[in-house]
Amino acid sequence: MDLTSINPVLLIASLMVAATPILLAAIGELVVEKAGVLNLGVEGMMITGAVVGFAAGVNTGSPALGFVAAALGGAALSLLFGLLTQYLLSNQVATGLALTLFGLGLSALIGKPYEGIKSPTLQKLDLGPLGDLPVVGPILFGHDPVVYLSLLMVLGVWWGLGHSRAGLILRAVGENHDAAHALGYKVVRVRMAAIAFGGASAGLGGAYISLVRVPQWVEGLTAGAGWIALAIVVFASWRPWRALLGAYLFGGVTVLQLNLQAAGLAIPVEYLSMSPYVVTILVLVLISARGQHGAPGALGRVFHGTG
């Protein structure tokens, strides 16, 4: 075993890259759930974003346009979910699962011509001398723009949910949609907006995998990242900064266990691999023991204006 071969600076830098897709998807889903909607289709929206973003990136030669297209693609798919659950009042759990299956199939269909093609990759943001600083350079200033975007989104969601009027309305809708409705808020419209935001974020997360992290298109590319994002929302007990912590913890454990293996560590990697999930379960037990689970009151419930 030779732990000195692990460079902690590079480790943290690659941890941030590994965590960015799940962070993007999780922060979007957090907003959706705060509005009282449980969308289990994150995986489907992520992979659709991944393939749409990849296709757009390849065809236009611009990864930035790829990300825009991915956000639009993810949002479009999520609006399908919104139409079914908000207007046609279908069951959210079943519809969300169906959305994942649909997204996986659709992405395979769209992606067929793009297999084995290389995409234009996103250039790292050049921050001049800042990137050359020891230690903090690679960690803070050596990333591509989407890593910073994901951090800004966490900040934005934190501020928006807690300190803006729109955020208060959104939370009111999520806590008690009948009361919000009685106050004259457009419950369905607010939820549709939240769902679209969640879809766009998931799409961005997917595109980050296909355009930056891997970067190529293969079927089944997201390989369960959407489910991890859902777990992170629960782990975070619906708070944005905890979602950031959760995403970096999950991403960190993935990267760390690979690095420890390469360094020849003898402890079974299974323990490390399962640790984020164990922590999630522990957090769940803890918050329910405290009696305050923090879940929005109307989460997953069907709203009908006349009801």
Partner: protein
């Protein structure tokens, strides 16, 4: 391709005694394929699907093929195979090691359906196993890797700690050490056959720790892309040629060529001559192909690798030839002794010089 050779092979199979005559069903013979990943993985499953397409091309309307992609190893495979058998499949290819016990379970329920299990070792009256001697290709890769590395650190993305994967690591290591005594292997067990993001992360972790050659036993092309981005890192195509990454980072590849075998076994079922077998072919029989060694490899290294390939194909050299010791220093093969297939099939140990433990 070599249709005549295939016909000869099928003829040889036909000489074997039949286990029971098949009732000739009206309509085409239905052949099922269970895939562990998507056919668009560009590697393992892609090559199996090429084999399926070869069966269709060979027999045309006389066969009907069905397949299911991304079937998890474990209980789900039972459902997938049972469904295929109920739909009338007469021959089912289960194309991953982890389906082993499930194949036997389903095969016991459908004695009239023939099963072919890739890379496994448990057979039954209606279950045959087949695999390719990938370790022969690994020997060629190890030679190139040992010659090409400048950091003397070679990264290896392993999938599951099963004999097939361990054989590959040992074979690559033995031959890398043979040409470069300073070479060191870093092995990462990904515990997946197909997870592009994880494979990319594994490749990056190895590169960050100094590896400038990446060998992979996982199925996607993600490590190739990671190596390309890092620059100055070479890779090898796995299962499929992965030629889109040539000449750099991909400098050569192991290509699985299942098509002749699938055609021959389908023909045997159609003829009613199928019987359980245990096929393990390598470079010599064409089941393992070595992809073109790219221009990034110096001519003398290329010649050396090709000479090794040809010696293995001709049977004059075996990649596991003594003197070899196990990792713990105990003797395994004496000078000039060649490993027997039984030991290779169940290989669960590293050879001397490799660091780390095989996970249990």
């Amino acid at each position: 391709m070599k249709r005549r050779t295939i016909l000869k092979g099928a003829g040889a199979l036909a000489l074997g005694s039949t286990l029971g005559s098949r009732v000739l069903a009206a309509g085409p013979t239905k052949v099922g394929f269970i895939y562990v990943g998507p056919i668009g993985d560009g590697g393992w499953t892609y090559q199996h699907d090429q084999g399926r397409l070869a069966v269709e091309a060979e027999f045309g309307d006389a066969v009907e093929t069905v397949y299911q992609e991304s079937v998890p190893e474990g209980a789900d495979a039972v459902r997938a195979m049972t469904q295929m058998a109920l739909q009338g499949a007469e021959l089912i290819f289960a194309t991953s090691f982890g389906y082993m016990d499930q194949v036997l379970e389903v095969a016991a329920k459908f004695p009239n359906v023939k099963f072919e299990h890739a890379t496994g070792y448990k057979t039954a009256d209606n279950v045959g196993v087949y695999s390719a001697r990938f370790y022969e290709g690994r020997a060629v890769q190890g030679t190139i890797a040992g010659r090409m590395t400048r950091s003397n650190v070679i990264g290896y993305i392993a999938s599951f700690p099963i004999p097939e994967v361990i054989r590959g690591i040992n074979s690559a290591f033995i031959h890398a050490r043979k040409v470069n005594p300073d070479v060191q292997f870093k092995v990462i067990w990904a515990y997946t056959w197909f997870d592009p993001a994880k494979e990319a992360d594994a490749a990056k972790a190895l590169i960050e720790q100094g590896a400038d050659v990446i060998l992979q036993h996982t199925d996607s092309t993600a490590p190739q892309a990671a190596a390309q981005e890092a620059g100055n890192v070479i890779t090898f195509g796995q299962a499929s040629d992965m030629a889109e990454y040539a000449p750099l980072p991909r400098v050569s590849s192991i290509i699985d060529n299942w098509a002749p075998y699938y055609v021959a076994r389908t023909r045997a079922v159609m003829d009613g001559t199928w019987q359980s077998d245990n096929t393990w072919d390598g470079i010599g029989k064409g089941m393992v192909g070595i992809g073109e060694i790219s221009s990034a490899v110096p001519a003398e290294v290329k010649a050396e690798a090709e000479a090794l390939r040809d010696a293995i194909a001709a049977g004059s050299y075996h990649p596991f030839t003594g003197p070899l010791r196990k990792q713990d220093g105990s003797d395994w093969l004496a000078e000039g002794e060649v490993a027997d297939d039984g030991t290779l099939a169940g290989m669960g140990f590293y050879v001397e010089g490799l660091e780390g433990d095989v996970p249990s």
